[in-house]
């Protein structure tokens, strides 16, 4: 059992506060991803959990026990670093066993664990090599192996895949997923890549500027983003935002069109932003379109196509169409902005979503 709780955790480097009070509870066995743009404090937060940074204020508790003053080595966690941080002068075997030796574990047990982890991560043949003699993916597996042999209560990953090429990244994503399945430990995974977050996480914590923007299941974040930032950050390509004013049960766009929205809590006349994901927009076959797009760029990917262009109001908009399209550059096409349920309405001033009906 390893439950992790953060209570109003803050971090300041000198006079600069970079984490502004984060509350978070992670259950046993969960795979949680911290995601956010770079510089938002993900690593700092993770390193505070690991015990590599002091906590300025608030409390971190593992299984109900405050660990603020427990040294990193004694928290029972293991971490995989972005640069792997493999000891370059030690063989793979020594890299894996160094931590166990420091814990004064019996030799036989160390060997057993190292061999086990090596088999699981397909490192058996590499045990006598040095990190310098390994490929990127192999180094990554060694770094993970070093965490695995410790049998930690919680695994911490800090952007472990960002040094790999795209193909390997997909492969390693699957492997880490499998690892989680097999071990069932709690894992916290930091990335700035929302695709990674969406594909791997049980729950995602979206961070911005040292604040927790939203914490929830991937599809909840996708379907019900709590604010403009999360809406824009989760999903690719990015959600389209159009300015408008709230009217009862609908949004009046700048172009004058009125589109229905299933939300409540807005006041008539309130400035709002209407958010629609590109994949929810379609070409309007009949009736009056919700908007008209002057197409300036077309990307044909074969299985799907993207249209980019501007509306009459001057706002930019992207559309994803299934399959291939006959539309060409310079065309003006009428659009249907999805179903009312797929439309998200945010308060323009605060950025918060207007609660759906």
């Amino acid at each position: 059992m390893a439950r992790l709780e953060l209570k109003q955790v803050k971090k300041a480097f000198g006079p600069v506060e970079v984490i502004h009070g984060i509350d978070l509870a992670i259950d046993h066995g969960e795979f949680v991803v911290f995601v956010g743009p770079s510089g938002c404090g993900k690593s700092t937060l993770l390193r505070m959990i690991a015990g590599l940074e002091d906590v300025t204020a608030g409390e971190i508790a593992i299984d109900g026990q405050g660990v603020n003053n427990v040294p990193a080595a004694e928290r029972g966690l293991a971490m995989v670093f972005q640069s792997y941080a493999l000891y370059p002068h030690m063989s793979v075997r020594q890299n894996l066993s160094f931590g166990l030796e420091n814990l004064k574990m019996p030799k036989a047990e160390i060997k057993h664990r190292v061999d086990e982890a090596a088999r699981m991560l397909r490192l058996d043949k590499l045990l006598d090599r040095r990190p310098g003699q390994l490929s990127g993916g192999q180094r990554q597996r060694v770094a993970i192996g070093r965490a695995v042999v410790r049998e930690p209560r919680i695994f911490l990953f800090d952007e472990p895949l960002s040094n790999l090429d795209a193909e390997l990244r997909v492969q390693m994503r699957v492997e880490i997923g499998n690892l989680h399945q097999r071990l069932g430990n709690t894992m916290i995974y930091v990335t700035h890549d929302q695709v990674e977050a969406m594909t791997m996480a049980d729950r995602i914590a979206v961070l911005r500027d040292g604040r927790l923007e939203q914490f929830g299941k991937p599809l909840d974040l996708y379907n019900r983003p709590a604010n403009l930032f999360v809406a824009g950050f989760i999903g690719s390509p990015r959600m389209n935002f159009l300015d408008g004013t709230f009217e009862d049960g609908a949004v009046r766009l700048k172009s004058g069109e009125r589109v229905a929205a299933a939300c409540q809590g807005g006041k008539p006349g309130q400035a709002v932003k209407l958010g629609v994901r590109p994949e929810h927009i379609s070409l309007s076959e009949s009736g009056t379109p919700d908007a008209t797009l002057s197409v300036s760029l077309i990307e044909q990917l074969g299985g799907e196509s993207y249209l980019h262009g501007t509306l009459a109001s001057g706002e930019e908009l992207s559309v994803r169409l299934a399959g291939q399209t006959q539309v060409s550059r310079g065309d003006k096409v009428g659009l249907s902005l999805g179903t009312p349920a797929a439309r998200h309405v945010f308060d323009a001033a605060s950025g918060l979503v207007l609660a759906p009906l």
Partner: protein, 358 residues
């Protein structure tokens, strides 16, 4: 690689076809400087196995020639052998018995009974190549009165000082470099600055107080008195700190997650990774300590604790006439550094060029 390539390689110039006049000048300078720099040392190596007579005469031949001698048939001193050229041009080897006016009394080798007289001008010394190793063995091992150069003792003292001082220098400076590069603490930058500032304080201006400090610690005439004051070199701290700054912090953090103590991180992670810088400092330290003269001269006054340098300088003062011994002992003294240099030449020059420190 064909012959053409070889020729092109050997006559390679500054991208143009023929040797430019500046190339000629370059090689002339190089050859000249080779003479000035290497010739004295080479000549000393070669001369160190020559006989005293050859040294006194400044025998210009490269190899160590000595005059052949044969035992005297009457049991006196060994007799020198000469080549006698007869009037008809034929030659014969003769042993020299003694002078008589402008003539010399000699006998043909193997016929000691028939002594005859020949003009001295018809005699030329009969010489053979014969390295005189006694130059080396007599002062070091011999039982002669010349044994004032207790080579083995001095060598041991020098080695002890060099090895101990280097080991301590490495450890002590690496620890300080580690603290100054990988920890944040109050006064760190001030401390680093102080250490760099002491680079500017010449050790020579604190001779007297240093002597008194060492003397009050009872370390006079002790090798430790030479070793200890030299181990906290600002150069070393500076060098190692700069190098350790390039070791990524994540490695240390990984080790901390791996339950390593700070000491273990230092010993098992930092030291192995700082090996390049450590080896530069080790080479410098060996050079400094082996060649040290002034400080040992002040601290060590009894010949049992002399280092090689002290022994050699004393030997020079005492035996200025026995050049053959002095040269041999000089060769012995410079041999260790020379061997080190021959094997680590690349390391040393690039290390010093990169750090710019000595």
């Amino acid at each position: 690689m064909g012959t053409g390539d070889v020729i092109r390689f050997l006559t390679r110039t500054r991208g143009r076809g023929r040797l430019h006049w500046s190339d000629w000048l370059t090689y002339a300078y190089l050859i000249l400087s080779l003479l000035v720099v290497v010739l004295p040392i080479m000549w000393m190596f070669l001369s160190s196995v020559k006989s005293p007579a050859a040294l006194v005469e400044n025998d210009p031949r490269i190899l160590p020639y000595t005059q052949l001698t044969v035992p005297s048939p009457t049991g006196g001193r060994d007799q020198n052998v000469f080549v006698h050229t007869r009037t008809d041009g034929s030659t014969v080897d003769v042993a020299f018995v003694g002078p008589r006016g402008v003539n010399a009394r000699v006998y043909e080798l193997g016929k000691p009974d028939t002594v005859f007289e020949v003009p001295r001008t018809s005699l030329a010394r009969k010489e053979v190549v014969d390295p005189r190793w006694e130059n080396y063995t007599e002062p070091t091992l011999g039982s002669t009165q010349s044994r004032t150069f207790n080579f083995l003792r001095y060598f041991w003292n020098s080695t002890f000082v060099t090895v101990m001082a280097t080991l301590l220098t490495l450890i002590v400076n690496a620890m300080a470099g580690f603290a100054l590069s990988k920890y944040k603490f109050r006064g760190r930058d001030a401390m680093a600055l102080t250490i760099v500032a002491t680079l500017l304080i010449p050790p020579t201006v604190i001779l007297v107080p240093l002597f008194m400090t060492v003397s009050s610690l009872g370390m006079l005439n002790s090798l430790w008195g030479v070793i200890i004051p030299t181990i906290a070199t600002p150069t070393g701290v500076f060098l190692l700190r700069q190098y350790m700054l390039t070791i990524p912090d994540e490695l240390l953090e990984a080790a901390r997650m791996d339950a390593a103590s700070e000491w273990k991180i230092f010993w098992r992670i930092i030291l192995p990774l700082a090996l390049p810088a450590l080896s530069v400092l080790a080479i410098l330290s060996v050079m400094w300590r082996w060649n040290d003269f002034m400080w040992p001269l002040i601290v060590l006054t009894q010949s049992e604790v002399f280092t090689l340098q002290l022994g050699l300088s004393t030997f020079k003062g005492e035996l200025n006439d026995n050049m053959h011994y002095l040269l041999a002992m000089t060769v012995l003294t410079l041999l260790p550094v020379t061997l080190v240099f021959v094997f680590l030449q690349k390391h040393i020059t690039s290390g010093i060029a990169n750090t710019g420190l000595k």
